[in-house]
Symmetry: C2
Subunit: 642 residues, 2 copies
């Protein structure tokens, strides 16, 4: 395991640098990690941070030309230089943002560096899921033990005596070779008093009382687009840190099919994709550890949840089978491997749990979602769950019967294949209302709009339907239902020599970059395909279950779209069936929540596996009624919700 370079690190109150004797050396205090770095007078912040593990963004390597090494200086310092004035916006300068390579340290400084959360490109990432009340019983047991010293009479070995005080229930206790290797010295160094760290029937470590060893676990939500890691305090079952980053694999395709295509076409493609993912996850691990004031090797357990393909890539398994009929993955079972074998840089004997999946398209993320929803914990309520992102995974049922399916919703719901679509990041219109004859929208980051993300697209279609600018068959035009809104129809833009019309969402003056943002007639078609697939899937699951919509007690929404879409808009365009909006619950990052539940409770891990066994996989493409239902669901309902 690589250790980060040694950095002088102290826990101290902010802005109270340690007393310095000589004037020549100064302190640089870097937040939020609270690093204290000893630096020479006059070096730049950039030079000081280069010696740490913080990966400061740069393209020019400190020449002051790229403007990437932004850092927030909290201590009042002199005015920015000319390069900074040129490369930074006045808002940034107002906030104290400076370029690290242009800022020499001439006194003790407190700075704020968060390269993951670029202040100008805020991703709207789902970091907080709902949690339930469950009994804390983590995958890792930490048991305080006082081992009797050796005695001549019994001549019992160290491990034998340790085992005996752990009680008869640990009679079959095993021990890792690494733990055993140092047991002789470790027991004596702690005078036989300490904590035994156990994973299932196997002892992983002996630590002094109060050591951070094994106190924390980690979960990963390995999404196709975004990776999220959480540091969980296993003593309290609470979250101690969250880090997320863009999945570096996105450069080899935005969806899993294109990634599988890449690895099939490229020599060492699988190894490369896996390496990228591991690098990302290990970077997340290092930052999480730092946030918790520990080292990665103090962590002994991790749980990962993702779609089946991402889980395959994490484990270095060939996911090719998933890309074509019969869509067979290598493994769906919930598995446990040494993190060292997998390539995650935790303690050498740490264990990785990978959530059980059901099939190639019903992944560990959906099982985690079902776990987090509590749907399978009872047999009375009927729960519908929709994880809507690039793909749509849907479940319906409860602990008695549980149906799952995957709807090829297509990427339209994440803004792809839409002329001015984009993912939910800074500049994306995330919600739309019609107010006083004009469009009102919220833009992520509160800037002028750059495009539409999925939730904005659904809202916009709903508003256009409501105001008669879009008809039930999906045609943009002057259907003139609502004459009081004069300005909306005015945004219809007929194409030259054609009856087809598009819709101007933002004029060059209204948009971020001076371009016209349009919703094309073709975009509506894409949306119809996507929402039709979801609606048809929901319909078929209800048919299969033999219920109608009024029997559904609760609808759980998850995923990049699921969490942010306005349920009324979703109903208005017919993606969701009409039902009482009070039944709809947004689950946040349900995959992360489910993984966390599994981490902090052995029973929940067991339940996740039971859910995967219980669930029936409905293959829509084989279903005789699917095509008909899909066609029927493409039209927009002719029913207002407002």
């Amino acid at each position: 395991m690589k250790k980060p370079p040694k950095i002088k690190k102290k826990k101290r109150p902010l802005r109270t640098p340690p007393a310095t004797g000589a004037k020549k050396s100064l302190w640089l205090n870097v937040l939020p990690d609270d690093l204290w770095i000893r630096v020479k007078y006059g070096v730049t912040i950039y030079e000081a941070l280069r010696k740490t593990t913080l990966d400061l963004d740069t393209e020019c390597n400190g020449l002051g030309t790229c403007g990437k090494c932004k850092i927030k200086v909290i201590t009042p310092i002199g005015p920015p230089d000319r390069q900074e004035q040129r490369l930074l916006s006045s808002e940034e300068l107002d906030q104290g943002i400076r370029l690290a390579c242009r800022t020499p340290i001439r006194k003790d400084l407190v700075v704020f560096s968060d390269t993951q959360r670029d202040p100008t490109e805020l991703f709207q990432i789902l970091k907080h899921g709902q949690t339930q009340d469950i009994a804390l019983d983590p995958l890792l047991d930490r048991i305080p033990v006082l081992v009797p010293p050796p005695d001549l009479q019994t001549a019992a070995s160290d491990f034998h005596r340790l085992r005996s005080v752990l009680g008869a229930s640990r009679d079959n206790l095993k021990i890792t070779h690494g733990c055993l290797s140092t047991l002789y010295a470790d027991l004596r160094a702690t005078e036989f008093r300490g904590e035994a760290l156990l994973h299932r029937e196997c002892m992983l470590a002996w630590s002094p009382v109060g050591s951070p060893n094994g106190r924390y676990g980690v979960i990963f939500d390995i999404g196709t687009t975004t990776l999220v890691g959480k540091l969980i305090d296993l003593d309290q079952g609470v979250e101690k840190g969250v880090i997320s980053r863009l999945n570096a694999q996105t450069r080899f395709g935005s969806n899993i099919i294109s990634r599988i295509q890449y690895l099939r076409d490229t020599k060492n493609g699988l190894r490369r994709l896996r390496r990228l993912l591991l690098n990302d996850l290990n970077a997340i691990l290092r930052r999480l550890a730092r946030a918790g004031g520990i080292e990665p090797h103090h962590i002994f357990v991790a749980v990962a949840a993702g779609n089946t393909t991402m889980q395959h890539l994490l484990l270095g398994l060939d996911p090719s089978g998933i890309a074509e009929a019969p869509f067979a993955p290598v493994i769906t079972e919930g598995v446990t491997f040494p993190t060292q074998k997998v390539g995650l840089e935790l303690h050498p004997d740490a264990m990785l749990y990978v959530m059980p999946a059901k099939s190639g398209y019903i992944g560990g993320d959906l099982i985690s979602f079902i776990l987090a929803s509590g749907a399978a914990d009872q047999e009375t309520e009927l729960v519908l769950g929709l994880d809507l992102g690039t793909n749509g995974e849907i479940f319906l049922g409860n602990g008695r019967r549980l149906l799952t399916c995957s709807a090829a919703a297509g990427p339209a719901l994440e803004g792809a294949r839409i002329q001015h679509g984009m993912i939910a990041k800074s500049g994306a219109i995330e919600s739309v209302r019609g107010l006083e004859g004009e469009l009102r929208y919220n833009v992520i980051g509160n800037i002028k709009p750059k495009g539409l993300c999925g939730s904005g697209l659904v809202d916009l279609a709903a508003v256009l339907l409501h105001h008669g600018v879009l008809d039930a068959e999906g045609v943009l035009g002057h259907h003139g239902r609502d004459t009081e809104f004069e300005l909306l129809p005015a945004r219809l833009a007929p194409r030259p020599r054609s009856e087809v019309m598009d819709f101007v969402v933002a004029t060059p003056e209204e948009s971020f970059d001076g371009r016209t943002i349009k919703l094309l007639q073709n975009d509506i078609r894409e949306l119809q395909l996507a929402k039709g697939a979801v609606a048809a899937a929901v319909q078929l699951l209800m048919d299969e279950m033999g219920v109608t919509v009024d029997r559904i007690d609760r609808v759980c929404m998850a995923g990049a779209l699921g969490n942010y879409v306005n349920p009324l808009s979703a109903m208005r365009i017919g993606m969701l069936p009409f039902l009482d909006p009070a039944k709809i619950v947004s689950m946040g990052n349900a995959a992360a929540t489910g993984a966390t539940l599994a981490l902090i409770s052995k029973a929940q891990w067991q339940r996740a596996n039971a859910i995967a066994d219980l669930a029936d996989h409905v293959e829509l493409s084989l279903h005789p009624g699917f095509y008909e239902a899909f066609i029927a669901a493409m039209d927009f309902p002719d029913r207002n919700v407002w």
Copy 2:
């Protein structure tokens, strides 16, 4: 895993070299490994073998001066050159021994090279133990499987379908990360037909039908002095090859106490001792694999048995606790570790079983001995077992009650601390008779004697007692019981100005190197201490068990001394109690036999662990009667056995 360099290797009948087209290149066929090496006309055997993994002994690197690179040439060739005549004995030349560096290859040659078994220094190593009839059920399962191809309806994963055909008993089947990583390709390459290799609940590999993968297992007898490895065919439960070598650790002390002293006094001492041992074992592994026509990575399971200290050194555990009261080892439990963690170069997912021990001095070797003896398989017969080597470990009992103890017999029984003592190798007197008034002895290797090994020492003392040259109190002298043997008393050599006498075993004319070989009065004292310790231990175990010697149904002997000592001589000197010699069974290499039983039968492995649990450890030093019994047992009995 290191692979040996590529060598053209074919299985062919001896002395039938493959047909060669061009005359320039020739075949060298090396026995016993049956390597076929293509060589150029005129290169020496030495040069040809340098390219292989055979470690030919040399000090002069082929200059023809050291005389070490001896090899037996089977094909008739021309006369030896002058250097060979000078450096090789006429006996060696008669046997066809030549120096590899002086022997050019001018035609196809068959040679015999066994650097482990140096023809001039034959160690008398115990390679063959007794085996019992047991049901073959090896630690590794190889199950032929036809996996159903993937289908769209169930969308079941590869692993799921594989698991399902293995049946409900494998419902909790796990899989190693390594095996899973290649499962997708492996299944398809074999068209879903092959063998699943399982270890307990975990799948280790998928192989084509008939692959050598997992067909063989290995056992190690890791003795303080000698290391033995055996290749076992798991399909038939038979031995396919045996390799032994001197434990390279012997250079750091001949017994475990001196090794522990070394590692406590030396920086990285433990790591060094472990490294030496692993190098030895890996060399044995490579040779065993070659003997079986396989590669080391085809082997997935190994079992090791040794004394507790050697087992600690193998696992890299600090054995310091064993060297001083309360003699607590780190672990005694039978354990299973990945060989990769331990450092043995088998398949990356192979497992090493280390035999259970009872205490610091009741090791896995004694438990293996008990297992091999079958003593614990029944409750009617009372079995006494003695493993006599550097140390003496003794057991008494059966499946109802089993007592074990360790007798600090001291190294006298392996020839150490005896003026002309030596271990049982070439030149050692291994047995002695008195015949027609003179000593007759067998010398290992049939050469003139160099000294006495343990069995020779016991024989000699018995003969001297029988003929009145040694009295019951252990004094050498003219006690003149047997006047017909005039020559024996004549070998008594009085010391100048002393009443103490020594005994001349071989005069300068009779000995190998022109020195007088004597048995000193002090040597008799050492023998008395050693045999007294053994006899007292046997007596105390009988007392503890509440039985007398006539209740003993069987005596099993093992160990370097135990296997070769004449039972009558052992009784004559009082090391063994007087009993019917027909009850005495020599077990050969009982540790290896026990380890083999555990390898080829899961039930036997379980039994070994049950034996370790069942056995009571009697700590002689704490026993109130020990000192008295020890004193009493020092005298020689006044009772003839011949």
